[in-house]
């Protein structure tokens, strides 16, 4: 494994950049992607996850085009009054900012991981996990409000097209599940960094932090699309 890592791009005589590099990387009888295998596999998993979320968003687009009943206005459905006038989408805006903040702390955690700064890496990863848990908590609040107060069900709602509920619960539910899984994943990796597992077993290589970071940023990325297409459109 270490041998493979050492004969990376830098040592390869035919290493080229640009299109010639693509051809070289893919055609030679050698490792195609000069990254740790876990990172390559995480990218391929994220690619497959991209298609899953795309299927959900495309099916949402399809039912929204086909319905002859007006679509409920998300700006009003997700409005929340904090003492006075209802503010449109305010909870969703806060959730978006929480998730972006968590993405920022994760990016810093990855950076400190490369600097072998164990303490800062662990603290930033725990901060990321806490922000992720906050996001899921707010989503639980949003679901409760929608189900109990507004009477939204997967098969219908009082505001308009019946497909609104099924699309909403499917898309945000699947995303929330990804966030929840990510929180657990981050805590596991943070524990392993903190207890010195990677120092003992991987020769102090914290690449697992970066791989967890890829997953976490992807969860943020998916939210960018959900925010645009479901809440703003």
């Amino acid at each position: 494994m270490n041998d493979q890592a050492m004969t990376g791009v830098a040592d390869h005589p035919a290493a080229a950049s640009g299109l010639r590099g693509v051809v070289g990387d893919w055609s030679d009888e050698k490792q195609a992607f000069h990254v740790p295998w876990g990172k390559a596999m995480m990218w391929i998993f994220l690619l497959s996850d991209t298609f899953i979320f795309s299927c959900f968003l495309i099916s949402y687009m399809n039912v929204r085009i086909t319905t002859t009943v007006p679509w409920p206005n998300p700006s009003e459905v997700f409005a929340l009054s904090l003492g006075g006038e209802p503010i449109p989408l305010i909870l969703i805006a806060i959730m978006t900012f929480v998730l972006i903040t968590s993405s920022g702390t994760m990016a810093l955690a990855v950076n400190y991981g490369y600097r072998r700064d164990k303490k800062k890496t662990v603290l930033l990863m725990i901060a990321t996990a806490l922000l992720g848990a906050t996001f899921v908590g707010m989503q639980a609040f949003e679901w409760t409000k929608l189900i109990v107060d507004e009477g939204v069900r997967p098969w219908g709602n009082p505001m308009g097209a019946a497909q609104f509920g099924s699309s909403f619960f499917m898309i945000t539910g699947f995303h929330g599940m990804h966030v929840s899984a990510g929180v657990i994943y981050l805590l596991v990796i943070a524990t392993r960094v903190g207890t010195g597992y990677y120092d003992r077993h991987r020769g102090g290589n914290y690449e697992m932090v970066e791989i967890a970071g890829l997953y976490w940023h992807f969860v943020d990325l998916v939210w960018v699309f959900i925010f645009a297409f479901f809440y703003l459109w």
Binding site: W43, L47, M106
Partner: protein, 129 residues
């Protein structure tokens, strides 16, 4: 960018020389972080100020793609990967454009069919049998 690359090489840990390109100064992450906040604020403003029509859809898509690009390129380090990996990950999703087009056309057809079958016109032109 060259400036940044030089700093990265200078501060790279000797133990991982081959992956030294992954070591970036913190500054770029902070800048991207702030940009993401600002762009999200803009997206929210589109809804808050009730922009309508093509302006609304255009701005929503613009801010969305800018945010997605920043996350993938900087936070997910795609900007520093070799082209072989970039193409392997970013080219396949382009096929989604075909899928989106197909479903949009299909959706329009279903919508028109529903208007004919269930709309007000359906009762006037009821089938003879």
């Amino acid at each position: 960018m060259t400036d940044h690359a030089q700093t990265a090489t200078a501060t790279a840990t000797p133990a991982k020389g081959a992956e030294g390109h992954q070591q970036h100064p913190l500054g770029i992450y902070i800048v991207v972080w702030i940009l993401l906040f600002v762009l999200s604020g803009f997206s929210y403003a589109v809804d808050y100020f009730h922009l309508e029509g093509n302006l609304r859809w255009g701005l929503i898509l613009l801010f969305m793609f800018l945010k997605a690009g920043l996350i993938v390129a900087i936070f997910m380090h795609m900007a520093w990967e070799r082209l072989a990996l970039i193409y392997a990950i970013l080219v396949p999703p382009l096929s989604l454009l075909v899928f989106i087009s197909l479903m949009a056309i299909e959706g329009d057809y279903t919508f028109l069919t529903r208007l004919v079958m269930f709309g007000p016109a359906a009762e006037i032109e009821a089938p003879p049998h």
